[in-house]
Structure formats: structure tokens, C-alpha cells
Subunit: 370 residues, 2 copies
């Protein structure tokens, strides 16, 4: 079983495309940005805040949910959606990225991966089958197979081995029967080797998945290398399936990759930056702690229609942030997520109207001028 995906518009001048992805819970207009809700809730926000922002899909992390509160406990609460009171779609990652970030704490074999909890050191062993079972318990609409996300730089044989194991694990993931409401992606690996990306993409699409994720990028490589790899993958990935670039990225990354035909994104950047006082605006990035905002009675972005900008001045946000108030982190997070979601909508509208190239050019110029 799978979600429905239909592309309605493809830009005449580039690979950018607009579509709709339908799960049993929501219609997701693509290209889409999925806010990250690590601990079954977006950091600093409550579910009503998320509803106000109105993303059609959010992401949650299998690794974190497995450790705390535990997938069985979530299952007994009726799944992620019921537990947090969220009715639109959720995507869960496979936990691979988190496990492979704990370099000293994990051990990979053909069978699976052994790792220790970053919370209390407890030891666990995950097979690809188990990761699907965990995600069945969590109940997200779109799920990912366990894969090996190699840190860069890495030698070719390491990347090749990771890609091959990820394919074998995808095969094993597909043996687990899913309810009709859950759709499984395949994940393309291969680091920044065009050859291995091609190999991984060609092999992965043989597995006929609901959609295709591009993993293992945005892990420290140069931006140009990431874009090259996306181009390599997108030449191979089927045009009628959604393409999800995992863990990406800056606003410019989103624009560059929509241009290249990516449909789905997620990233902690808008919320993490918000907590650190970095705000996105149509005028560029803002450090809210800077003295220049101390007496600015206008909102941080006069053009912004978000909850925060509609209510509070830059001076007030500056004050709350300098005073270390958690409310500043929440108000900043709402603003930054609104910026990201609005950016996606602006891109989609431009694709639909046939003006994406114009948008792309002027966005890049505006970024370069700040």
C-alpha cells in the first residue's frame, strides 16, 4: 500500500515541480518542509502552536521516541498522533542518522546495529525488521527503513559497503507487513561519490518504494557537492514518486533543491536557530540579541504574518531573549517555522504560476546581498 502522489506542475526551465501527496490523514502540497518534532512535539511549542502554523506534515524521530517514552507506550496511547493530539500527517525517520552520529557507541553487523542509549547507556540491538516494527507502533504515515548514514569524508569501500548493507536492509524492511495507512520509502546512500549514488539510486528504485529519500547529505560536505549528488540521484529517481532530501537545510538549500526537483525536506535549523536567537526574515538573518533591536518597536519582519510578528515588537523579543526567558525561544520558533513554511508556499505558488525561475533568481540575489 502507499500514499497517493500526483504532480500537477513541472517548471519549464528547471526540475522544480508542484504536487500533492495524500496520506490517510492529510493532503500535503509539495514541495513541502516538515518541521522536526523530535520528542513527539516540536521543541518549545505545544500541539496548538503547531496547529496554528498548520504544516500538513511533521517529522518525529524513531530513535528518540524508542528510548523515551518507548514505542510500546506510544502504541498504547494510540500512536504518535493520538498521544500529541495531532491530526495531520507524521513522518518518522529510521533512527539511522542518530545512531550513526553516536560513533563510539555503536557496532554494525550484517544483521543490524548495536548501540547504546545517549540517555543512560543502555544497550540495544536493532535489526531492519525491528525498526519497522517500532515505526508500526509509533504509527506515522510515512516511514523509513534502517539505513547506514556514513559520516564524511569516507573512503569508497566504506561508502559502498554502507550502500550495499542499506539495500539489503531495505529488502528485509519490506518483508514486514504494514497497515495500509503506512508508506515506506527507500533511502539512497553513497556519500559524495557520484558512482555510488548512481549505484544506490538504481538499486533502490528496483525495490519499488512509495517514495525515495536521499540520505547521508548535509553532514558537513560542501554545498556544491550536495547539489551535485542531488542531481545525480534525481536523474535516476522516477519522476512520478516523491523525493525527500533528508535533514536539509538552509533557506537557500531549500530553494536550490526545489529547483533540482526535490519534493520534501526536514531540518532542525529553524527551531534550533530560534532557540539560539537567530531569526530568518525576508531581509536576511537576524541576531535578536543585537543592541540594534533594543528599541525597535516594529516586529522583526514587518512583512511577516506569523503569530509572533503580529503581536510582539523586535524590542520585546530582544528583551525576552536577553533575559533568558523560554517564551522567547517559543516565539522565535514560531516565527522561523512560519518563515520556512511560507518560503515553501511561495516556491510552490511560483511553480504553479510558471514563475519559479524568476523566484529562484531573485531569491539567490537577495541572499547574496545580505
Amino acid at each position: 500500500m502507499s500514499y497517493d502522489f500526483n504532480i500537477s506542475h513541472i517548471d519549464a526551465n528547471c526540475q522544480a515541480r508542484a504536487g500533492e501527496l495524500k496520506t490517510s490523514r492529510s493532503i500535503i502540497q509539495t514541495p513541502v518542509f516538515m518541521p522536526v518534532g523530535t520528542n513527539i512535539g516540536i521543541k518549545t511549542l505545544d500541539t496548538d502552536d503547531i496547529k496554528t502554523l498548520n504544516p500538513s506534515i511533521i517529522l518525529s524521530n524513531t530513535y528518540h521516541n524508542f528510548l523515551r517514552p518507548g514505542d510500546q507506550i506510544v502504541a498504547r496511547r494510540g500512536g504518535l498522533h493520538a498521544f500529541m493530539g495531532w491530526e495531520q500527517s507524521i513522518l518518522t525517520d529510521s533512527g539511522g542518522f542518530q545512531i550513526f552520529s553516536l560513533e563510539s557507541l555503536r557496532k554494525i553487523s550484517d544483521e543490524g546495529v548495536e548501540f547504546r542509549s545517549h540517555i543512560n547507556g543502555d544497550k540495544f540491538f536493532w535489526t531492519p525488521e525491528k525498526v519497522i516494527e517500532i515505526q508500526k507502533n509509533l504509527g506515522a504515515d510515512i516511514i523509513m527503513p534502517l539505513d547506514i548514514c556514513t559520516s564524511l569524508p569516507a573512503e569508497d569501500h566504506v561508502l559502498r559497503d554502507a550502500a550495499i548493507k542499506s539495500l539489503a536492509w531495505l529488502d528485509r524492511s519490506k518483508t514486514v507487513l504494514l497497515p495500509p495507512t503506512q508508506s515506506l520509502h527507500g533511502i539512497v546512500q553513497g556519500g559524495i561519490s557520484a558512482k555510488l549514488r548512481k549505484f544506490s539510486a538504481l538499486e533502490t528504485i528496483q525495490r519499488d518504494c512509495s517514495g525515495y529519500s536521499i540520505g547521508g547529505l548535509s553532514v558537513g560536505e560542501e554545498s556544491i557537492a550536495m547539489l551535485d549528488m542531488v542531481d545525480v540521484c534525481n536523474e535516476i529517481l522516477p519522476k512520478d514518486k516523491p523525493r525527500y532530501l533528508m535533514g536539509v537545510g538552509t533557506p537557500l538549500d531549500l530553494v536550490e533543491n526545489v529547483y533540482r526537483g526535490i519534493d520534501m525536506f526536514d531540518c532542525v535549523m529553524p527551531t534550533r536557530n530560534a532557540r539560539n536567537g537567530t531569526l530568518f526574515s525576508t531581509q536576511g538573518r537576524i541576531q535578536i540579541k543585537k543592541a540594534v533591536y533594543k528599541e525597535q518597536d516594529d516586529p522583526i519582519d514587518p512583512d511577516c504574518t506569523c503569530y509572533t510578528c503580529q503581536r510582539y515588537s523586535a524590542a520585546y523579543l530582544h528583551h525576552l531573549f536577553k533575559a533568558g526567558e523560554y517564551s522567547a525561544m517559543r516565539l522565535n520558533s514560531i516565527h522561523n517555522l512560519h518563515y520556512y513554511l511560507t518560503l515553501m508556499k511561495r516556491m510552490r505558488d511560483a511553480i504553479v504560476e510558471g514563475t519559479f525561475l524568476q523566484f529562484y533568481t531573485s531569491f539567490k540575489a537577495s541572499i547574496e546581498s545580505t
Copy 2:
């Protein structure tokens, strides 16, 4: 000039009274609890959250506002109300309590008090007149004179000296002309000496203030000593003026002191406890991190009508708190403040209906049984 204050009901069996205090900004039904908004905002909440809770008055701290963002900056923003977007009443304390908590950092003379900022060590000298000027800049509806809040235990001559200085400072505070929208209280000191409380109360009421605050209690003394001092003060304080017991207290403290004729309270307890995971409920106090809540799908208090309990299960709050999410602190704060505000409303309703003694007795019994 002064606010209006009218008492509509006095309980037949005790000193409890219900009234209305009218500032230029709101009608405050008394007895009232004022949530503490230290940094021009209640910790973890934004102004919309406060509006949802709908207290008719909140408190902010002169000391903190003076240091950050600075009273002049607040004045240029149009005052506390405009700065945070809050239209109902605000009370500011004098900063005395905060300064005298910084024992090693301050030096008292007849003229005023020298102290160092807890933020960066900067040295300041406050006279009583200056404290009123600061509060004029902040623009709260009800303001307090600089007083000396002595930590307990203290020898009689120390308490006497503090009370005498506080009276002299009140006289000097009253020489500063206030706008008609601001009302000044007198503050009764005297530690836990009945003799000095009587002296201070009798002298303070000679100064004919808008209302009377009882300071220097809830600083570590036994509960029974606090209640005795409140009794001593309330015998002397005029019946037709509001009585504000500063910095108090637990739910039981509120009930005991409403019984004794107190009209106004403030305390950080509901919000501080919330951030530490201690929640108030009609069933007693709850430690939300306890394992018993891990799978409780009901809200923490099934009878509670607050934003949090209407939306989230105890299990979800338990999870967010264990995961260290700031959203848990906010949801807990909303619940605890709602509990405090509801407790005040229940007391007021009972006074109006003539059933306060019944409420008082059954509340005490319920506290003792938990």
C-alpha cells in the same frame, strides 16, 4: 489619587471579605492572586497565554525591570503594558525584597540603598524617590515604596530600625507626584514581632495610602508566626482599604489569609513549581515525573478546565517533562496558574454566597488528607 476599592461582602464567621478594586485599566475582584511576571512576562508564557488565563492584574518586579531592559527603555516603549501588550492592571513591587535578598551586595544608609546588579556587578544607589520615579517610568497601576525587608530571624533593634527607615522612606516616596492612574501602597514591616508590627501598622496608616501591603513575611518563618502577624496587622489596618500580603504563598496560605481578611496576594510558587514539575490539583500536589503518570491517559486533574488539561493527558505531560522539553514547563505553568486563579474565584464565590467557613473547613481537611 487612588484606585477605587469597595467591599461588597464580609463573611459573618471570619474576616474574609469580597470586594472590587478599580484601576483605570481593569476591575479586580478581590480577594485576588496576582501572577508574577518578573521580566515583563510570566515565565514560559507569552502575553496571549496570560490573556487566556485572564487574571485581572499581574505583578512585575521593579528591580529586574530596572536592570533589564531598563525603566527608561520601558518608558520609551509606552510603559510595561504597551511593551508586553497587556491591557489589564499591573502592580510593581519596590525592589526592596530583591535587593535585601542580595545580602552581600548591598549597603543601607538613611539616604537609600547601594547595591550591585546580580547580572553584571554594576553598582547602583537607590533612594525612595528614585524608586518611585522608576515605577513612574514602568507605568504600573499600583506601585510600592522602597522598604527594608529584613531576613529572619533578626534582633528587635534591627527590625525596629528597618521599620522606622521604611516609614521615613514612605514619607519621601509620597513627595513624588504621581499621575492619577498610579496608586501607592504603604508597606507594614516588623518581622515576627507583634509589638513592631503594631507600631509599623499604626504609623503606616497615618500616611493615608491607597492600600496597605504586609511585607517581610513568608521569608522562612513558621506558618503560625506569619498568620499571627497578619492578625496583628489586620486589626489595625483600615477595613475599607485593600490589604496585600506580599509574596504569599501556598494554596493553604491563601485560604488561611483570605480567612483573616487579606485581599491581594502574589507568589512565584505556581510558576516555579510548574517548571520543576510540581502541579497543583484538587487531589493534592502531583509530581509529574513520577512513573505512575507514564500511562495515564486522563488529564492530570479530570475536573480542571485549564488549557492544558483540556488538551493533554498526564502521560503526555509526563513524557514532555521527562524529555526536558520547555513546552512542559509552559503547559504546567498554565495549569498551576489556572489552579491558583480558580482557587481565588472559589473563595470569592463562597464569601459572596455566605459559605466561606464551610469552604475553609473542607479545604483544610482536604489538604490534611493528602
